[in-house]
Every structure is written in C-alpha cells, then in structure tokens.
C-alpha cells in the first residue's frame, strides 16, 4: 500500500504494549480479586501466560508468511471460503471490541469526571479520533504507538510508586489466595484483556525484519504483562483484597488515594484519567485499524481510508447497545471469552493446517530487492 517494511522491532513491541495497555487496566484488579482475593497477582500472571501463548501462535504464523497478513495467508492455508468466514468473524469481533472499549471508557469518564456530558458524546469523540488516525498508513500507525508508549507506562509507574508508601505486604499473602472462587474464569477474563495483541498479524508484514517478530512479541508482552501484574500488586497491597472487591475501577481509586509530594496536585484521579485518554486511544486505534485493514484486504481494496469513516456509524451504534454499566461489563466478559477462542484457537488451527499442508510464505528478499 505504501513504502512498507519500515517497522522496527522496537516499534512492533511498542505497538503491542500500547495496544494491550488500555481501559482494561482500570477494572483489572477487580477481575483479579474476584477470582482469588489475595491471589490476584498470580491470576493476572496466569492470564498473561495464556495471552502470551496466543501471541506466540500468531507470531509463529506471521513469521511463516512474512509478507502477508492473516486475511491473506488464511486464504492460502484453508482455502478461500473458509478463510472468508474466519476473517469475517475477526472483523466483526474487532469491530465489537472497538465499540466496547469506547463505551467502557465513555462510562468511566462520565461516571468520574464529566458527569452531565452525554455518554454518546464522549464515545463518539473517541471513535472519531480513532477513525481519523486510522486513515494513516502502517508506518505512521507504528510511530503513533511508539510515541504514546512512554506516556502510558510513565503515569502508571508513577501512581504505583507513589502508592507504595501505603502498601501492606500482608494484603498479598497468601499468594495463592484464600478463596479461589473462579480462578480459571478470572484467568480467562484477564487474558481476554490482551486481545488487542492480535494487531501483530497486521504489523508483521510491514516489519523490516520479520524474523525478529518473536523478539518483539516477547518484549511487548513482558512489558505490558509486567505492568498489569505490577498494578494488581500495588492495588491489592494498598487496599487489601476485600476493599478492592468493592471498587468498580480500583486502578482509578489508586490514583485517587495518592497525591504528589508537596501537594502539587492534591489528587491524581482526574489527571490520571486525562493521561489515560492516550492509552485508551492507542488501544482503540489498534482495534479500529485492524478492523479497517482487514476489511480492505478482504475485499482487496486499494485504499483503506474510505472505510474508516464508513465503519464509524456501525461501531458507534454497537457501542450504544449496552443499557447500563452492569450489563456492559457482562457483555465485555462474554465477548472477551468468545474472542479468546477467535484469537487463540483460530490462529492455532491455521498454524496446525499450515504445518500439516507444508504451506509457507515466500522467504523475504526473493520478491524485493531491498
């Protein structure tokens, strides 16, 4: 589509990190604590492991076909019609994921900061932002993620560091949790928060050295997963498992419970939320971009730009579907579990068939001179 093959390993890792870290971080400790109270960090860790497995499958698959993305190589592996169904599912799923992310953040903003602003407005603002930005090519897309990554990690680390003075190690013990109610369910829910990493299937064909994609996915997952675990540890250590269960967005509450030294800012929740707009934006951008690109490749369009605006009303209407915040979180969890099948089992299947049928993409260099 343009002068591709510019994305470096660092950029690919940055794409992963800033895609995975998103609005899901806000309720993350709640999900983890519900599963196994003081064992929350462990649950998060397991969730990250599952997500890592999925990501490795995708990376492996992508490296087998270094110059094609999932829409293209799935056709080569399982035939045109089956692949159409698979890609169609992916497109629909990521469109839904986009809308839910936008809605979730809209709810956060409306509940905690802009109380009388209609949620439609906050949602559409985010979606328009994503739609406009997804008109750029993959190189700019990677730049955007690269630029925002420090802006996500910095505030999160700051909040964690500032809250540590109130932490009590006793809250984290026993590390496997007192009552493991739904360890598996929690693990799956948390793994589902990382589904954005599927974007790697679109990034690999644009990488300068696809051979190093594995390194990018490893580092990306390590940083994002490390941050997830750190945030859960900090939240549980400060609040204790029982209090965390009472909070809808424990991470936001953590920001509320800390203040900068010397009272420069007395409380950080509104500021944190403002900075977190970038995190949500980058997640949203990834899933929007993925949907958009997948459609463009599925219909073999030259230009993906037209669709970015065309997609907007559909995504917006889907975002408005949940009636209230409780129903929204119900849907998010359901969709997340379905999505896990789609983002781990489907690539796994493709990989298996590809190995069995000995399908393999052209090695790099044969088609391009440099």
């Amino acid at each position: 589509m343009e002068q591709t093959r510019q994305v470096t390993v660092t950029q690919a890792a940055a794409v992963l990190v800033s895609t995975i870290i998103g609005v899901g971080v806000l309720p993350l400790p709640l999900f983890a604590v519900r599963a196994a109270d003081s064992g929350a960090p462990l649950v998060t860790f397991f969730g990250m492991l599952i997500a890592m497995v999925g990501l490795l499958l995708i990376t492996w698959l992508g490296m087998r076909f270094p110059d094609r993305n999932i829409v293209q190589y799935s056709e080569a592996i399982i035939g045109r019609w089956l692949a159409w169904i698979g890609s169609g599912c992916i497109i629909v799923f990521f469109a839904v994921l986009t809308s839910l992310t936008a809605r979730e953040f809209g709810e956060v903003v409306v509940t905690s900061v802009l109380k009388t602003t209609p949620v439609e407005v906050t949602v559409i603002v985010m979606l328009v932002l994503a739609a406009i930005s997804s008109r750029n090519g993959i190189t700019t897309f990677a730049y955007i993620h690269m630029f925002y990554m420090p802006l996500l990690i910095g505030p999160a680390i700051l909040i964690v560091a500032l809250s540590l003075k109130n932490a009590d190690i006793l809250n984290l013990e026993p590390i496997w949790g007192n009552e493991r109610k739904d360890m598996l369910g929690g693990t799956v829910t948390i793994a589902a928060l990382c589904q954005g990493s599927f974007i790697l299937t679109m990034v690999i064909p644009a990488m300068r050295r696809p051979k190093k994609a594995m390194r990018a996915s490893f580092w990306g997952m390590l940083i994002a997963g490390g941050l997830y675990v750190t945030i859960v540890i900090a939240t549980v250590a400060v609040f204790g498992a029982e209090e965390t269960k009472k909070l809808l967005w424990p991470t936001l509450e953590l920001a509320k419970a800390t203040s900068l030294p010397a009272n420069v800012l007395e409380r950080l929740d509104a500021a944190f939320l403002a900075v977190w707009v970038t995190a949500v934006f980058s997640t949203l951008l990834s899933s929007y971009f993925l949907t958009n690109q997948a459609i463009a490749f599925l219909f073999r369009l030259k230009d993906h730009r037209m669709f970015s605006i065309f997609l907007l009303p559909f995504v917006f209407l889907m975002a408005m579907f949940p009636k209230n915040i409780v129903q929204m979180y119900g849907i998010i969890m359901q969709v997340g579990r379905v999505g896990l099948v789609l983002t781990i089992a489907y690539p796994g299947l493709l990989l298996l068939v590809a190995i069995l049928r000995k399908k393999r993409g052209k090695p790099l260099g044969s088609s391009k001179s440099g």
Binding site: Y143, F147, T278
Partner: protein, 545 residues
C-alpha cells in the same frame, strides 16, 4: 551630462514594443548578425524606454564601431571606465590592431585587451537582454557575431550585521545579508572544503531570482539533493521575493500549522546543518536561508547549545522545552482545572482562586480567550510600531491594562498571571515560525478545554501529536529521532550531550558518511593530558635548589 541627453535622443527614435516578454519569446533564437545596428535596435526596443538605461557608442582601438549597454545604477562606473572603456579605446602598442578579421578581433579583445576577470561571449540576442537586466554590461562590436557580457554588477548592499532574530551571547556575530554572493562567501569562508557544492538556478518568470542549493558532495544523500532540485524546478511563478515564498512551494504539507522547513540568518547554522547532511537553499534578495529536511527538535535548539558547555546547556534546553509546552497548554489546563476539576489544586489555593474569580462576570474560558486575544493584538501592535515607541506601548499595554483589568473586575489576577507566563513562554522558543504554530494551536485547545475539560485538552493534544507523527519533511519523520526510535540521535534531543558523544551524523538523514569524529578525541586527550603547571612539580624543585 550632455552625453546622457544625446543618447536618450537617439534611443527615443525607435519605438519600444508593448509586450516585451512575448517579443523575447518570439525571438528567442535570434542571433547576433554582426550588424551593430540590428543588435542595437533589438535591445532598444526592449529596454530603451527606461530612464536608467544607458547606451554608449565608441570605437574599439579607434577604428571598429562598438556599443556598450548597461543600467547605469547597477554597475560600477569606475570599473567600467578603468577596466573596460579605457583598454578598448586605447590602442595597445604591442598588438597589431590594423585590419583584423572579425574572429581575430574577438580573440584579441577577449584575450589581450579587456582587463576584467569575468567576461563571457554570447550570441543570442535575448540572452544579452537578460544579461543587461542582471546588471551586466554588454559590448557589441560591428562585425562580430558574438557580444561580450561583462560582470560589472554593483548593487548597494547592507553591511554584514548581527543577526536580528537569532542573537547569541557566545558564537559568531555574522548574519546573512540580501545579496546571494555575499551569503555564499560567508558559507564558503566557514566551510573550506571541496565537498561543498553550490548549484544555481533561476526561479520566477519575472524576478529571475537566483537560487543556490548548497550541499556536501559525498556526504549529503544524493536522493535528497535530487528531490530538492526537482521540487525547485517544478516551481513556476512570476516572483520569488523571499525565501519564504520558496518554502511554501517546497514543503510537504501545506495545510499543517507546523513549519517543515527551517530558516536561519546565521551562516554558522547553515554550515552546521550542511555538515549533518542537510541541504541549504539560498535566494538572492533574502537574508534567510532555508534548511531541509527539518525535524521538530531543531526548533528548540540554538547555536549556543553547542558553543557553551554541555552541562550548562542541557538544563537550559529543557527549560526551553518547558516554555514551549507552557505556551501550548498552560491556558487550557488552567481553564479545565478552574471550570471542571477544581479538586486537583490544593484546597487553600482553590479557595483563593475562587475568591479572585468571584467578581468576574465571564466563564474562565471566555475570560482567558479575551485576554489571550488582546495579548495577541498587543504583540502584533508592538511589532508594527516604530522601535522608539514600541517599548513604551508594551509597558502601557501589559502593566497598566493588566492591572486595570483586574481592578475593574474584568479578569481575575490569576488569569493575568497565566496569560503572562504563556506569552513569555512563547517568546522563549527560538524558532519564530514554530512558536507561531504553537501560539495558534493554543486557541483550539482552549476551546476544547472549555467544552470537555482535561479530557478535551487531551483529545486536542492527541490530535496534534498524531498530526506531528504523520508529518514528514522530505520523507524524514517530523519527530525524528524520537519516534522512529534512534537512540544515537536521542543524545541530542532533550539534553545536549557532550560533543564527543554525538560522533555520528543523524541517521535519519541517511548521510553517505556517518562518522563525524573518531569518538575518541576527548577521552584520548584526557588520558594524555598532563598537569602541566602542577604545583607539586615546581614547589618541590624550588625547595631543592
């Protein structure tokens, strides 16, 4: 001036043409026939009506009729008299000048008679006219099929002064002037290397402005030089009055508020950039050179960053960056905290701010917008005013109006503080055009802040950042080296690393030769350096003796 009058009379006999360009276009291949009358008629038809045009008939060596054409105010008259007219009219004793055939005469004139270094022959009539317009002197001799073009141009020019907009405490004091020749000499003087190449072209159908493209052969990426050439060649306008005109034709994104081409009036800055692998473009008549490609971090760097010691300049550069951010987001942050999230500031301060604002009739966003706009008006007025009154006005404007606005209950004192900080912040940005962009973008941010508070500010900043990230200057990502992730380049991004650290040229320019210095020059000098005047050495010796 009897001579002057006589010539004019002769000129007036021949009617001038109404459409000179069309006429020249029509006769673009017209050659000199050797008939002096025809040549004279052609030139007079085109230029004869001008009061400052002069035509001087004389006899070469006392026997061959010749005519000299020039614009009287563009040439150096003493040079004309001493080095051209005198040797041509005076028959040299050592050369046989009788009855020369035309070819031989041309040779003799060029090789033996004319005392001038820059002397060309030309056979096309329109080129003669162009030469005269450039300030050259034309000498046509009866019987010769070629005329002489002698570079006699002398334009009154400004002396070299301190650069007005980029002053430094430590560093060279020279600035470019309007004439391109002087400017090129200032560059050559600093860069005495055979690698420096200066390609020239004329742009502007009417102004025929000379444009020089400077680059380092064997260092600058040739693709870049080609692209610059191509973009310049595509320009087809009638006038280039300043390098600013060129900038707007060659930049990548005309809709962007951010400048994608850097300008400077400092020759040392041009040289530094040439050595990094950039291309400089100079235009005759403009004291500002353009430098491409440009990345964002150049706009907050100054010459002093490099002339002063790195330990001191690194924090100062960060201060400049803070000022830059101040000028962009300070008012909008203020608006969103006051109108949306007053819980963020300390309670004591919040109560005090509320007290200050209690009498103000407008919402914070309107108040800030009003004061900001009046500040812009004031700033614009100060630029337009003559220097003598400018200072007085700014004092009246800032101090008195600000104070009065507060006591009239029109603005709260804290708003005035915020606006003052913002304004000062925007002055701290070294590049005027970048400061202008940020100044402008402040307003949409303020409006967004008025609608959505901090959330809106963030949305605005994301839009700006995404725009910056998609922006390119000659293919170089605008936020290089931060964003494509070049760690080597980051040594000179936020801080100014020691000179021996940045021993590589910026990689995003893809220079042919990346190494700037050996990277060891400093460490090795440290190792070898001795305490030459170590007191231990001398005192010990003294006591012994």
């Amino acid at each position: 001036m009897p001579l002057f009058r006589r010539r004019n009379k002769a000129i007036n006999k021949i009617p001038s043409v109404n459409a000179p360009i069309a006429y020249m276009e029509e006769h673009k291949d017209a050659k000199i026939t050797g008939n002096l009358k025809e040549t004279t008629d052609f030139i007079i038809k085109l230029l004869g009506e001008n009061g400052d045009f002069l035509m001087r008939e004389f006899h070469v060596f006392g026997q061959y009729p010749a005519t000299m054409f020039y614009f009287s105010q563009m040439v150096d008259p003493s040079m004309l008299n001493e080095s051209i007219l005198k040797p041509l009219m005076y028959t040299p004793p050592h050369i046989q000048t009788e009855q020369l055939p035309p070819e031989r005469l041309q040779d003799v004139l060029l090789n033996n008679a004319l005392y001038h270094s820059n002397c060309q022959t030309e056979s096309l009539l329109p080129s003669l006219v162009k030469g005269i317009l450039r300030g050259e002197t034309i000498i046509a001799v009866e019987g010769l099929k070629q005329a002489f073009l002698i570079a006699t141009r002398q334009i009154d020019k400004r002396g070299i002064e301190q650069p007005a907009t980029e002053q430094v405490i430590r560093g060279p004091r020279e600035g470019f002037v309007e004439t391109i020749g002087t400017n090129l000499s200032l560059i050559r003087y600093r860069l005495q290397s055979p690698e420096l190449r200066v390609a020239q072209m004329d742009i502007g159908r009417k102004t025929r402005s000379k444009v020089a493209i400077c680059y380092m052969q064997g260092l600058t990426n040739p693709e870049l030089v080609d692209e610059v050439n191509n973009r310049l060649k595509r320009i087809d306008v009638d006038a280039i009055l300043d390098s600013g005109y060129l900038e707007q034709y060659i930049e990548d994104n005309q809709l962007s508020p951010f400048p994608q081409v850097q300008y400077t009036e400092r020759p040392d800055k041009v040289v530094a950039n040439l050595l990094e692998g950039r291309v400089a473009i100079l235009v005759d008549g403009s004291p500002l050179a353009l430098i491409v490609p440009t990345v964002f971090n150049q706009f907050y760097q100054t010459v002093e960053d490099y002339t002063e010691r790195y330990l001191l300049m690194s924090p100062i550069r960060i201060v400049r960056l803070v000022a830059l951010m101040f000028s962009l987001i300070f008012p909008s942050i203020y608006v969103s905290i006051i109108s949306f999230n007053p819980e963020l500031i300390p309670t004591e301060f919040a109560v005090a701010v509320a007290g200050g604002r209690a009498g103000v009739p407008f919402p914070a966003v309107v108040e800030v917008l009003i004061i900001e706009i009046s500040m812009e008006v004031l700033r614009e007025a100060t630029i337009r005013l003559p220097q003598q009154v400018g200072g007085a006005l700014s004092i009246v404007g800032v101090l008195i109006i600000g104070q009065a606005a507060v006591s009239a209950g029109f603005a709260s004192p804290i708003t005035v503080v915020i606006i003052a900080l913002t304004t000062i912040g925007s002055f701290a940005t070294p590049a005027y055009n970048a400061a202008l962009a940020l100044r402008l973008l402040r307003f949409p941010l303020m409006i967004l802040a008025g609608i959505f508070g901090l959330y809106g500010v963030m949305i605005g900043l994301i839009l700006i950042a995404n725009h910056l990230l998609s922006l390119k200057s000659f293919g170089v990502p605008y936020l290089s080296p931060l964003v494509p992730g070049d760690f080597q380049g980051m040594k000179d991004l936020l801080i100014r690393g020691p000179l021996w650290w940045s021993n590589k040229r910026p990689s995003f320019l893809y220079p042919l030769d990346r190494t700037r210095n050996s990277g060891q020059s400093s460490t090795s000098t440290h190792e070898q350096s001795e305490n030459a005047l170590d007191p231990a050495k001398f005192q010990g010796g003294k006591e012994k003796s």
